[in-house]
Amino acid sequence: MPSDVVLVIGGGPAGLEAARGVADLGARVVLVEERDRLGGTPVFEQYAALTHGFQDAEEVMDRMVRAVVGHPGVEVRLRSKVVSCEGQVGRFRVGVQRLEDGAPATVEAGAIIVATGFQHFDPGRETQVYGYYEYPDVITLADAEAMLKAKRFVRPSTGLPPERVCFIQCVGSRDRQIGNEYCSKVCCGIASKQAIEIRQQVPQCKVYIFYIDMRMYGYWENEIYWPAQEQYKVNYIKGIATEIIRKGDKLLVRGEDTTLGRPLEVPMDVVILSVGMEPSKGTREVAKVLGLKQNKYGFIEVPHEGVDPVATSVPGIFVAGAAAGPKDLDDTLSMAGAAAMKAVAALRRAAAAGAAG
């Protein structure tokens, strides 16, 4: 008898939306999450406002979590991880281990949705000299996000409000030298959003963004990019920052202003590295356990991304969100909906085949 359960792996935005979607369609869900609470990266990295629409990230995630936790069709297993998998569509037998005591369990599922997400690029691997591990005032988008959420954007070294802040784009993205040739899609939007938030919270602070080219998808152009410049006076400088050094109590950003065609050297109080996305450890581990093909970057490979954006190399296993590559929240939730629909369809086909057989 085929199982009527969809196993959802990962309790971030993609996993939550997929679980809610599957349950709303009438199937049962087992949602496995390695952490001790749901919400994923937006919660654990303390995101402030969502880039699209400037909604409070915590409020949005809270709504998504409540929609799942209160749903009678969803069983949530926190502090658990997937350790084995056998079988096929309609009849997967998945080993799930409880992290606290190592207690094993088996989940019989007709379909699986992988929603294990991404992790931020670690600037320690960067080939440019940005000094993230040397200077406390060099921070990442995620570090800045946490300060903005706390409404206390300061120089970490002094605890005082900064006078000059800059963003450096494409850190760990579009970089052939380190092997991440892809664009992470969201960093331009997030940097512009954060630039606006910094100007709102610290109005006297000057904010600069050093970029290769700004990639403002869809409505971000009018929602973020132009207001950042016209309303909030954020300075966009087309140029490549190559190194950050400490000069007295300031950071000195060096690089090239490619519009003016000359070297630049500007003092800053805080430098924010716009770090891109990489597959999370969970994505890489789950891909191995489930036997899913990964692309050269470690993301889960989608064989026909243009026409079937949630399929994987294994029938009956689907992927949603940034486990399949860099995605913004809009794409993530759209994928989660599509994955839920495909997973439930897979259950029903398996059940129909079982009844006929």
Binding site: G124, R125, R176, E243, I245, R284
Partner: protein, 404 residues
Amino acid sequence: MDTDRTTGQRVFRRDPDLPTPEDIRERVLALEEAGEWIVQRVPQPYREVPTKYGWPKKVPLQHTWHHKSCGQCGHIPGYSTAIFWLHRKLGLDYDDPRDQTSCTGWNYYASATSNAAAQAAVAARNFAAAYATGYFPLIHCGTSYGHYKEVREELVKHGELRRQVREILAKLGKPLVMPEEIVHYSEWVYAVREEIAARRVYDCSEVVVTVHPACHYYKLVQGDAIYDPDIYGGQRTAVVTAVAKALGAQVRDYSTWFDCCGFGFRHILVQRDFTRSFAVSRKIETMIEEAKPDVVLTHDTGCVTTLDKSQFAAQVHKKKVGVPVMSEAQFAALAMGAHPYRVCQLHWHAADYRPLLEKMGIDWRERWREFEEDLERIQRGEKEYLTWEDVDAEVPARHFLPVS
């Protein structure tokens, strides 16, 4: 990203599962399997050292073929002598060949004439010469090291270039050989730093050091350069600094550490005054202002020459200069008791090194007297030139135990 619980500082930990750039060494070995060339293996014993992307790199301890540097031999001969002296005192076998040519670094970086096949053939001829001796290339010059790594990549990626170079070598009766690793001498010094430190006879604890990492060492083809988690948290190259620290010296930071020394290859040829100004105002003066070093240590020919000799003209303009500059090999040799004139040949250096020697407890007056006696012996015709016999017996033998 982790945080050190004691210091609160961020700590970089490499995730070995994340993708890294292509490791060209794998293609070097694949081309050997395809019959395209011979790969000369790193001889035993070797040490594995960590590199930029976390790949281990084999550094041979001995049986090394020393690819010397034009600029060292011409301007700062104590540099290469110190490297040889360290080998001798550590009991490590090496070959100082007479059939090595210059690399084509000057040609490649400066005048940009000639062509890819000619430049690669010069590198390949030196590799073949090393292979013929059974000794493994150890490259003294940072520029040759960087250039050869670029040549390796060109040869790996272009079959037509390999064919052209093979034809040139065939005319010389030599095979096309690529070393398993391309190794800079400073990587060897890094690898044996603990043995050097164990044989230190002078106290370095009061010596303040600033380090200039050489651009051609770690900015050209970054994947081969040594990065050690224990030095600068693995975020800057570890060579030189690790040696100074092992010797117990105080390494101090300065803001322009990332800058070129001023040499710039093209600049030294076409804008020599710019080179000198840069070396003084962006490097030496900044070091003095921010770190007050007793000595500047670096690991490349052009860097030692530029940082040291640019101070000479600056003194006339009453600039705040006067810091000795030398290689870490010379500094290590001094700490191990090498003669400052017979071995390290500091009399070739422009900035005043004597305050440093006094701080280390080295009696430079007595050493200079000995050296003048050497010169008188040569003048009297008793000797044609100094040999290893003149320097080998300077330090008590108990300090020189073979490396196990």
